[in-house]
């Protein structure tokens, strides 16, 4: 549910967790980012930074400039100032990623896990089975069939949680148990109902079945997409995965290595939740592609 009144929970002397609801839904997350945008605009003295997540905002504050009670009062008032969620619009870029599905690198990582940690079903086949799909071709069709919403950043520099915007494209999967000790950089995985691109060679738990040659963070800030920020994503961005063959993958990878790759980004749209809801009402969520 989405709460009428948010809960404000203390996290020591520097943090307050603002809980806006307790469900994973687009609407709850859209509310999170609408409230986060209002808090940022209000530039409340003493509020240091925000970590907006699926249904919560972690607020860090400086107790010498603002009290816990005043954070609750001021941020609570901003939440109440949002009348109907339907009237909200957020800036939303659309970023395209070339993707090689069922690639050799995630396969090699899977083989390594089976050899060293535990035997398990191969990730793409597991995804086909638990989501009642016909075969790997349908997995690719379903996964690349819609736009994804950047619901949250965090955990690792550059990492983002992507939520499918079309219910017909929702894939779910259990996480690795125990987790992987490493994941190929820029592998794409699904865990719970979320999708992620691994920014770097990191541990991980999502089922991995694809890889993009386009980086999502770059500490050297060489590529044009990283001139402003080390990390590509902002909350409210949308992502589209475009299936490519090995030749195209290698071409993009060469451009990245040369430092000339241009991420494909369109930045002229606002996301209207009213129009999104109207579109949702026209589709049959049980259909697959």
């Amino acid at each position: 549910m989405i709460y009428d009144e948010p809960r404000f929970l203390p996290g020591g002397d520097k943090f307050i967790e603002m809980e806006l609801g307790d469900e994973m839904s687009f609407d709850c997350n859209f509310l999170v980012h609408s409230v986060a945008a209002l808090i940022r605009q209000a530039k409340i003295k003493g509020i240091v930074e925000l970590v907006p997540e699926l249904s919560t905002i972690m607020i860090s504050y400086d107790g010498d400039q603002i009290s816990f009670a005043d954070v609750v009062r001021e941020v609570g008032a901003l939440r109440r100032s949002i009348g109907s969620l339907e009237d909200q619009e957020l800036d939303s870029r659309l970023i395209y990623f070339p993707v090689l599905y069922v690639d050799p690198w995630t396969r090699a990582c899977y083989d390594d896990y089976c050899a060293k940690i535990a035997k398990k079903e191969w990730d793409p086949e597991l995804l086909v089975r638990v989501n009642n799909l016909a075969n790997l071709q349908q997995l690719i069709r379903v996964h690349s069939g819609c736009e994804y919403w950047v619901a949250a950043l965090g955990f690792w520099p550059g990492l983002a949680s992507h939520m499918p915007l079309d219910p017909r494209c929702v894939l779910t999967a259990p996480k690795y148990n125990p987790p992987r000790t490493w994941t190929p950089k820029q592998a794409i995985g699904v865990g719970g109902g979320l999708c992620a691109i691994y920014p770097d060679q990191t541990p991980g738990g999502y089922q991995i079945f694809a890889r993009t040659p386009a980086p999502i963070w770059e500490p050297t800030q060489t590529l044009p997409a990283f001139k402003q920020s080390l990390a590509l994503f902002r909350p409210g961005d949308r992502v589209r995965f475009v299936p490519v063959d090995r030749e195209e993958y290698d071409y993009v990878e060469r451009k990245v290595t040369e430092g000339t790759y241009q991420h494909v980004v369109s930045d002229f749209q606002k996301f209207s939740i009213k129009r999104y809801h109207a579109w949702l009402a026209t589709i049959d969520p049980k259909e697959r592609f």
Partner: protein, 322 residues
């Protein structure tokens, strides 16, 4: 300029308060784990309290000063010597060009701080010189210092022969039992009363698998409320699972049955509950604890946590020197 002869164990450049403003992007604050000892080291050499210095962990480095400097060593006792002669902790000293500062294994405490007048002058990354080795940013090439590297030092204007008054220093004693403050929340309504009772009554043992990312604790099993055991499926299967959410620095993150205190290099988000949070004023104790030390938790309110922090802040000034 300082040459690294032996790096010690994961000795890194840190500044205070660290990398603030990038938590949403997944960059932790980093910075010195015991910022009380760190700030006093800087104050001793005439720096601003937050200027970049070295954090030494468990085994200190051996450094050659290529030009004269004013330095101070604070925090854990690592038997520092200058050209072989013992060097007093909590005091500022002249080092002549060519002299060698050597720190050994930590006898009391775990983390020692070396401040140099002028500070370690590496380029800031995202507003801070602090090393965050997992992303390879800050400090010297993004990682702990290595033998053969050189550390640039800023311009100095300082005086030797100053000392921190004993009453202004953190007490790093022989006892391996630590009284650690904790604030309830944010997710204290996910564990039951019996778990709350146990949290403050039992001895928690610090596991060896602990570092600047997280402190793992051994202790009794946790028990939960219906909020944890009867929840929407998207929260996950285990009672300690919750929808991915932001983590406070210092929080007691319950990962299955293992509590992990998330500290200065911790992840910013994840899918586990946080029943308690260790306030910033108790971080110096975490920093100076060693594996197998015992933690006893004492609950404090948010207001008390602010008061404890202010009390330490007031000590990290030149008024604490004699």
């Amino acid at each position: 300029m300082i040459s690294v002869i032996k790096p010690g164990l994961e000795t890194s450049v840190q500044d205070w308060p660290g990398r603030i403003g990038y938590w949403e992007q997944g960059f932790p604050p980093s910075g010195p784990f015991d910022s009380w000892s760190f700030r006093l080291a800087n104050v001793l050499v005439g720096n601003q309290p937050g200027e970049a210095g070295l954090e030494c962990q468990f085994m200190g480095p051996t450094l050659r000063f290529e030009r004269a400097a004013i330095i101070a060593v604070t925090g854990a006792e690592m038997n520092p010597t200058l050209d072989g002669a013992p060097l007093e902790l909590w005091a500022s000293h002249v080092v002549k060009a060519g002299q060698i500062l050597a720190l050994g294994p930590a006898r009391k405490g775990a983390r020692s701080y070396i401040a140099v007048a002028g500070g370690i002058d590496v380029p800031p990354v995202l507003g801070s010189r602090s090393t965050f080795h997992m992303a390879g940013i800050g400090g010297i090439e993004g990682h702990a210092i290595k033998a053969g590297q050189t550390l640039p030092v800023g311009e100095s204007k300082s005086v030797p022969g100053r000392r921190v008054k004993p009453a202004a220093r953190p007490t790093i004693g022989e006892s391996r039992v630590w009284q650690i403050e904790a604030v309830r929340g944010p997710n204290d309504d996910w564990v039951d009363e019996a778990a709350h009772q146990r949290f403050v009554s039992v001895d928690w043992k610090l596991q060896a698998r602990s570092n600047r990312t997280g402190y793992r604790l051994d202790g009794p099993e946790w028990t939960f409320t219906p909020r944890a055991t009867n929840k929407r499926p998207e929260h996950g299967e285990h009672p300690s699972n919750v929808l991915d959410h932001g983590y406070p620095v210092g929080t007691v993150n319950l990962c299955g049955q293992t509590p992990i205190i998330l500290v200065v290099d911790a992840p910013s988000t994840g899918g586990f509950i946080n029943p308690y949070t260790v306030p910033s004023a108790a971080f110096w104790k975490l920093a100076q604890a060693k594996p197998n030390d015992i933690f006893k938790f004492n609950l404090v309110t948010v207001d008390q946590a602010h008061e404890l922090r202010r009390a330490i802040d007031r000590l990290c000034t030149p008024a604490s020197l004699e």
